[in-house]
């Protein structure tokens, strides 16, 4: 998983469980934008200060992946998740039990959740529109950090 994520220019860190990520997160630039579903599961997110008053002010976003594809480094998150879209740094939590083998498994999941708005993310945003030179950070995040969690929540 790590290899595939790094191949799409994501930065990967492993953590045993949720409490251990707090310090790491606090080292990233504030203000923070936390995905809605995480706020209830991780009540301590209020310790990440200051929170973004408006989503567009946030510099770091925290999101939770539904699944991660081992071969491609792709993460599936809710489509409405602005935390993985607006800030320059996007952090996505990926519990190890949510890792699947192939893109076909992701497609199957999407088929089974056909009523949900979902988005598959493979790396930080990028463009090669200028002379085919790869530039990381187009309109979305410039940095994608993936935290692999042994245990969740």
């Amino acid at each position: 998983m790590r290899e595939a994520l790094e191949r799409v220019q994501a930065e990967v860190f492993s953590f045993a469980d949720i409490p251990s990520i707090v310090n790491f997160l606090s080292s990233l630039p504030s203000p923070y934008l936390i995905a809605e579903e995480l706020k209830s599961i991780l009540p301590w997110t209020h310790t990440l200060r200051p929170p973004a008053l408006h989503p567009q002010e946030a510099r770091t976003g925290l999101s939770l992946a539904r699944l991660g594809v081992k071969t491609t480094g792709t993460l599936l998150v809710p489509g409405t998740d602005t935390a993985s879209l607006l800030p320059e740094t996007s952090v996505i939590l990926l519990p190890k039990e949510r890792i699947v083998d192939a893109l076909d498994d992701l497609v199957l999941y999407v088929a089974q959740h056909a009523r949900e708005h979902l988005v598959a993310i493979s790396g930080p945003s990028r463009t090669a529109d200028i002379e085919k030179t790869l530039v990381l950070g187009a309109h979305g995040p410039e940095r994608l950090i993936v935290l692999l969690l042994d245990q969740y929540p």
Binding site: R7, V8, Q56, T71, T72, G73, T74, G79, T80, T82, L85, L103, D104, V107, L108, V110, A111, A114, R115, E116, H117, L118, V119, A120, I121, S122, G123, P124, S125, R126, T127, A128, D129, I130, E131, K132, T133, V135, G137, A138, H139, G140, P141
Partner: protein, 446 residues
């Protein structure tokens, strides 16, 4: 025909164009080769699956339109089926009317290029902002895209730097990273102000009413999630039966288009009251009844045939003077607009396109088939007679003999276009037949 000839001449006269396009397409081709070698030992079987899926979709198209419509409506979404470009523009404008006072953010869509939607809305006072970086750049230049997935492939970093400086007060640099960051700042403001968004569609899933969108920049995510209303515009050829059909397609498309294992963002948009789908049927639907049309409808718009075409690599999309260029463009365009009947002749029929097509469209054979439909319009009747006569051995013998014995000056004039840059057309004083007969005689006497 004049428009394409004119476009071609302009492209051939541009001393830098070939270099830029050839270099950019070459980069993608090489990366694609490496990607397939390293990650897709099953590439051929993926192509087979995808080809079958697309053929089936085209065959079932009327049913898929029905099923898709039902799925969208059952999910609380909105869908309008339109028959032509005029209707498409009118329907879109009507949906956008309440949002006229704010910028409208737009993702890349070749169909909207076809329909001239942006100009239509522009003339009616709407500010439509192209948000794909390449499209944003050419919008500033008031140009059309020169490639279906890499619209600014014909521009250098110097061109882009200059246009940012002149039109937007951009930074004095040719560093792509700084230029991109500048564009990000400009466009982020538009994304935050916009209340309406327009997207195209890569695929439409009939069974669920889902719009599937592939991108790298995040501009489509921003255009389809922030605004209050989002319109997705697509032709019926984007329809596929089921979500699981996406398995081979989501691998083949990014690999073929941008040589990526996966593009950055693939959005799956289910039916929603805030979203509208405008689906173009009309002429595209009727292409199904044509053996050439039903093949080209399979196209997934990856642009690989453009990248590998030796003609495209030298003249870019602008060299064709049409919305869709390269091999797929030279087939689709004449089918939709008969005035472009000559396009299939602008090819050496080398077959590289057929080799590379991820869904096994026999592109160069389709070009040949289209030629046979319009041949009478493009060749003089004298050539026509020549072709007929050549099959007769005596006529052939006589004809070639006369040609060989013509004085050089006359031959040079007859084949002027050849002679100009390739020297005199080579002709042997003695034909093969004559030499063979002589050889047999010499052997018999020996």
């Amino acid at each position: 025909m004049n428009k394409t000839r004119h476009a071609l001449e302009r492209a051939l006269c541009d001393p830098d164009l070939a270099g830029k396009v050839d270099r950019a397409t070459g980069i993608t081709l090489r990366k694609r080769e490496t990607l397939i070698r390293d990650s897709y030992p099953d590439w051929e079987s993926l192509r087979e699956s995808a080809s079958e899926i697309r053929s089936r979709s085209v065959a079932l198209l009327p049913d898929l339109v029905r099923i898709f419509t039902a799925s969208v409506e059952a999910g609380g979404g909105n869908i309008t089926i339109v028959e032509d470009y005029d209707e498409l523009c009118r329907v879109v404008e009507e949906i956008l009317r309440p949002y006229r006072d704010r910028p409208i953010v737009k993702g890349k869509s070749m169909l909207t290029e076809e329909t001239g939607l942006r100009d239509f809305l522009g003339m009616r006072g709407y500010e439509v902002v192209e948000t794909d970086l390449g499209e944003f750049i050419i919008q500033l230049l008031d140009q059309s895209p020169s490639h279906i997935t890499a619209p600014a492939i014909h521009l250098s970093r110097h061109d882009i730097s200059r246009i940012f400086r002149e039109r937007l007060g951009g930074p004095d640099t040719t560093d792509p990273q700084i230029l991109t960051r500048f564009a990000r700042t400009v466009l982020r403001k538009k994304f935050l102000k916009a209340q309406a968004g327009i997207t195209g569609a890569n695929f439409l899933v009939a069974e669920s009413g889902t719009v599937v969108l592939l991108e790298n920049e995040a501009n489509i995510r921003l255009s389809s999630t922030l605004p209050d209303v989002v319109i997705s515009i697509a032709g019926v050829e984007k329809l596929i039966e089921r979500t699981t059909n996406l398995s081979p397609l989501l691998k083949l498309l990014p690999a073929s288009a941008t040589a990526q294992i996966q593009n950055c963002y693939t959005s799956f948009l289910p039916p929603d009251p805030r979203r509208h789908i405008v689906l173009l049927a009309g002429k595209r639907m009727s292409l199904r009844e044509d053996p050439v049309g039903s093949e080209i409808l399979k196209c997934i718009r990856c642009g690989a045939c453009l990248n590998t075409c030796p003609v495209f690599r030298l003249v870019g999309g602008h060299g064709y003077g049409t919305v869709y260029s390269g091999p797929m463009g030279a087939i689709l365009t004449p089918l939709l607009s008969p005035e472009h009947r000559s396009l299939p002749y602008m090819s050496s029929l080398c077959g590289a396109c057929t080799d590379i097509c991820p869904v096994h469209i026999p592109l160069h054979r389709l070009l040949l088939e289209l030629r046979s439909r319009s041949r009478k319009d493009f060749l003089s009747s004298s050539l026509f007679t020549l072709f007929r006569a050549g099959a007769n051995p005596r006529a052939y013998g006589m004809g070639t003999s006369i040609f060989r014995k013509l004085p050089n000056t006359i031959r040079r004039r007859l084949l002027g276009p050849w002679t100009r840059k390739r020297g005199t057309f080579p002709v042997s004083p003695e034909s093969f037949r004559e030499k063979w007969r002589r050889r047999k005689r010499e052997r018999n006497h020996a």
